[in-house]
Every structure is written in structure tokens, then in C-alpha cells.
């Protein structure tokens, strides 16, 4: 079902968490990378100390770069959430573009524009991958008799998806709007496979913790 995400902190504290997390990831990853690189590039007998030296010189710098990127991204994300008063993937995409542009602003507007484009595309890919992952994880392939349960399982976990296909009637998903066709096709096929299985074989309705809901409304722009 479409429960709002509750695992992240609310917005101002989220910036602190993201800065810390990004620095940690950069420092630990940078340490590992530069340690191995330092070991590789050192003379025999001085490998470990060469690796440690490379870590001490480079890991804080890598961590700091990650922290700046993560902190700026989180700040722009929270600003978008505050401006639009809702949470959805568009905030992250625009925040990624803004971060990329902001960090290159001293190189002039052309470079800033190119970096903004790269940042936006990168975030769009990440958000898309996250959404696909959520959809796969949130809909385990169980056979279901209950039409309400099937409709509930067909609910989109992130209702604000920019290219959301209508998910109420799965057979119609194949004929949805053109941008959403491949999403809908992915989804429509799974639903169509489930329905013949559910109709033909015997299946037990296990105890469900969801109340049977009214059909999820479609999220097409009116």
C-alpha cells in the first residue's frame, strides 16, 4: 500500500544526517580505494606505510567532497519539499540538477548548465532505479483470490511518480499514455500472469493485515 516513507528524519535534521552519511561513505570508500592504490604504488617493504600515507593524504579530501555534494543536495531537496509542500521524486531530481549547477557556478554559466544537466540525469536514474526496486520488493509474487487484495497489491508505493501509469485496472495499463507504456507493460504483464493462476488453482487467503480497500484512485493529471 502507499504508506508514506517514515524511515528518514523530517526535513531540517535530514540535512545533518545526509552530510554525516555522505562524509562517512566518502571517507570509508576513499580510505579503501587509496589504501589499495597506495599499496600498489609503494616500493617493497614499505607497502603498508605507503598505503597508510596515501589514506591520510586523500581520504579526508574524498570524504569532504562527498559531504559537500550530499549536504548541498539535501539542502536543495528540503527547500523543494518546503516550496512544493509534498515529497516525491521530482524534488530529488531538481535538487540534483541544482547541486550540479551550484558547484560549477564559478566556471561560468555554460559549465554550470552542463553540470546541472548531468546532475539531474544522474538523480533521475537513481530515483528510477529506486522506484523499480520498491515496486519489485513491495509486490511479492503471491497468488491471490481476493480482487481487493490484487488491487491493493497493484497500488503504486510512490504516488507522485512523474510518469505514473494508471494502476487501477491492470489490463488497461498496456494502453496507457506513451511515456508510461514500458512501466505499465512491466506491471500489466505481471498482473495478467497472476489472474489466470488465481482463477484456476486452489489458493488460500492467508491472514492479511490490510483492510480491503476501495480501488486505488488513478494519479493521472486531471
Amino acid at each position: 500500500m502507499g504508506t508514506p516513507e517514515t524511515s528518514r528524519e523530517p526535513c531540517p535534521d535530514r540535512i545533518l544526517d545526509d552530510v554525516g552519511g555522505a562524509f562517512g561513505m566518502g571517507a570509508v570508500g576513499g580510505s579503501a580505494f587509496h589504501f589499495i592504490k597506495g599499496i600498489y604504488n609503494s616500493p617493497n617493504g614499505m607497502r603498508l606505510s605507503g598505503g597508510a600515507q596515501a589514506v591520510r593524504m586523500n581520504a579526508p579530501r574524498v570524504g569532504g567532497s562527498f559531504a559537500v555534494w550530499g549536504g548541498l543536495f539535501s539542502t536543495f531537496d528540503c527547500a523543494m519539499v518546503y516550496a512544493r509542500q509534498k515529497e516525491d521524486p521530482w524534488n530529488s531530481i531538481v535538487a540534483g540538477a541544482a547541486t550540479g549547477g551550484f558547484l560549477s557556478m564559478r566556471q561560468g554559466m555554460g559549465a554550470a548548465g552542463r553540470s546541472a544537466l548531468m546532475g539531474g540525469i544522474l538523480l533521475a536514474l537513481i530515483e528510477g532505479a529506486g522506484l523499480m526496486l520498491n515496486r519489485v520488493l513491495a509486490n511479492p509474487p503471491l497468488p491471490a483470490d481476493d480482487p481487493n487484495l490484487t488491487a491493493a497489491m497493484g497500488g503504486n508505493p510512490f504516488p507522485g511518480l512523474p510518469q505514473a501509469p494508471p494502476v487501477v485496472a491492470p489490463p488497461e495499463a498496456a494502453s496507457s499514455s506513451v511515456p508510461g507504456v514500458w512501466f505499465g507493460g512491466l506491471f500489466g504483464r505481471k498482473e495478467e500472469e497472476k489472474k489466470p493462476i488465481a482463477g484456476g488453482g486452489k489458493s488460500e487467503i492467508l491472514e492479511s493485515f490490510d483492510t480491503p480497500s476501495t480501488p486505488i484512485p488513478s494519479f493521472e493529471y486531471k
Partner: protein
Amino acid sequence: MADPRLYPTGSGSDDRRDAAYPGSERRLYNPYQDLNLPYRQLYDLPTSPEFLFKEEAVAQHRSWGENLTYYTGVGYLSGAVAGAALGLRDAARGAEPGEPAKIRANRVLNSCGSSGRRVGNTLGVIGLMYAGIESAMVAARDRDDWINSVVAGLGTGALFRAANGPRSAVVAGAVGGVLAGAAAAAKQVGKRYVPAL
């Protein structure tokens, strides 16, 4: 569109209702209005207390990951702000008379950026080490008290200056341990006046 059952109104809800009348500039927005959540399960809370003992309730409840990101983030941000302040002072000191604004702005940006990055990175690394050692101590001892903080301070200081030789590492470790112990003691004293600590 909005399901009235989604707003469990109490007795004092008239003010909120008034705000949604036409003529006022605000509307009530419920982010969950279209999602058909199983709200009965969401808001059906038990009335028994969460913790049986007061000591449990006041103990720290951050997981090791939250501890890590918190200390690292605080360290990096405070270091960045302090470094930027230092850089600002250096830029103001190094300004030549009769310079155009662009040059001054460039000097300010450069020096704030370089000092901020240096100090921020240093404090971020210190925060990361401290949080890592403290979380490891909590996991190993299965207890949360001042010994964890002091040992984490010792370890952080020693690790930070380990490359400068053993003597330097011991001195730095002692400094770190004393600072961490002082911070823990200050927190205990502060709890008397500010209970939220």
C-alpha cells in the same frame, strides 16, 4: 475527496475548522488524503507506557548508524563553519586597498573555501572515528556509560596522531580522553539545569 474519518477531531477542533472557511487564506491539507491508508491500524495505539523504568526511558536510543551520521555531520558542519570564519578573517586581513569588488569576492571565496574544507575535513574525520569507536564500545559492552565516551576519546586521539609517532599518539590520546570525559561530565551537570540533555 477528503474522507472525514481521516480527521479524528477532538473537542478543540473548531479553530481548525474555521481556518478552512472561504474567505480565509488557508486550507487544511492532509498528505494522506488520497492514499486510502489502513488508518485504524495506523493510529490505534496502546495505552501502556513504552518503558517500565525511568532509567530506560532516559537512556540514549540512537542506533550505531544514526550515531555515526550524527557525530560525523556535526563535526563536518561545525568544522566547515569555523573554517569559513577563519578564512573570512584571513581574507579581510589580506585585502589590498583600491581593489575592485570582483577581486575581493574572489579572495573571500578562495580563502573561505580552502580553510573551510581543511578544518571541516579534519573535524569530520574526528567525528567519524569517535562515533565509530563509541558505537563499537556500546555494542561490545552492551551498556552505555561514560567509560565508552572516554575510551572513544582516547582511541580517536591516538588514531588521529598515530602517524606522527607513538609519543605524539599517546599525548593526543590523553588529550582526547580528557576532552571526552569533560564533555560527559558537563552533560551530567547540565542535566540538572536543562533536563532535556
